[in-house]
């Protein structure tokens, strides 16, 4: 079975631009979460979606938004990019909501903002 997939793998943008990252969860998983990982640090929670509804939001500015589609895939959008948005963006999928079930991560999208 395919794992979590993310696209693109790498992305280079300039300050002020907008970016859209995409994630496809493991088949049968209905929950998708997004994390930001700055080099040398642990991942930081951005959003969680379950059954197309937002179920959690981390401490990120309104420039960050996300959505989940009927097929449970998800997009993360970041507007007005700043240098500090340069990071590895990770998507994690799990089958349930509100339970300590395993979350499986994709390979990530490396975003560089110049």
């Amino acid at each position: 079975d395919a794992g979590v997939t993310q696209s693109p793998t790498h992305l280079i943008k300039t300050r002020g631009q907008q970016v859209t990252l995409r994630c496809s969860p493991i088949s049968g998983h209905k929950s998708v979460s997004w994390y930001q990982q700055v080099l040398g640090q642990g991942p930081q929670f951005i959003f969680q979606y379950y059954e197309k509804e937002e179920r959690g939001r981390g401490n990120f500015p309104d420039r960050f938004s996300a959505r989940q589609f009927p097929n449970y895939s998800s997009e993360l959008n970041v507007n007005a990019l700043l240098l500090g948005d340069s990071a590895l963006y990770l998507c994690a999928s799990s089958w349930g909501q509100g339970m300590a079930n395993e979350q499986f991560f994709g390979p990530g999208t490396r975003l560089t903002v110049l």
Binding site: V4, S31, S33, Y35, G40, Q41, G42, P43, Q44, F45, Q48, Y50, R55, G56, G58, L88, L90, A92, S94, G96, Q97, G98, M99, A100, N101, E102, Q103, F104, F105, G106, P107, G108, R110
Partner: protein, 112 residues
């Protein structure tokens, strides 16, 4: 606020030299504690979930244990291929969602 602290930040071992990684946590009701392995430039790879104090889980050379305040990842007779960053994360019962709070990780280097 939920907090996770991992120590040491970096650990160098000789092949076959056993050791332990520590994960200390404060959380408003633990729903689960997770261990992940992360290779450079890749996404975290799931290793274990622990749910309650006293629980232990094993996988090959790795063994994870849990108390009410911390978790340990014991590595027995490590090999160079065990070199990676090991991440610990908690999920709080107070969260309606699936949010994980991660520690900063321990970078493990195993030399042949």
């Amino acid at each position: 606020e939920d907090q996770v602290t991992q120590s040491p930040e970096a650990l160098r071992l000789q092949e076959g030299e056993s050791s332990s990684l520590n994960c200390s946590y404060t959380v408003s009701g633990l729903r689960g504690l997770f261990w992940y392995r992360q290779d450079p430039g890749k996404g975290p790879e799931f290793l274990f979930t622990l749910y309650s104090a006293g629980e232990e889980k094993e996988k090959e050379r790795l063994k994870a244990t849990l108390t009410k305040k911390e978790s340990f990842l014991h590595i027995t007779a490590p090999k160079p291929e065990d070199s990676a960053t090991y991440l610990c994360a908690v999920q709080a019962a107070s969260n309606a969602g699936n949010m994980l709070t991660f520690g900063g990780g321990t970078r493990l280097m195993v030399k042949p």
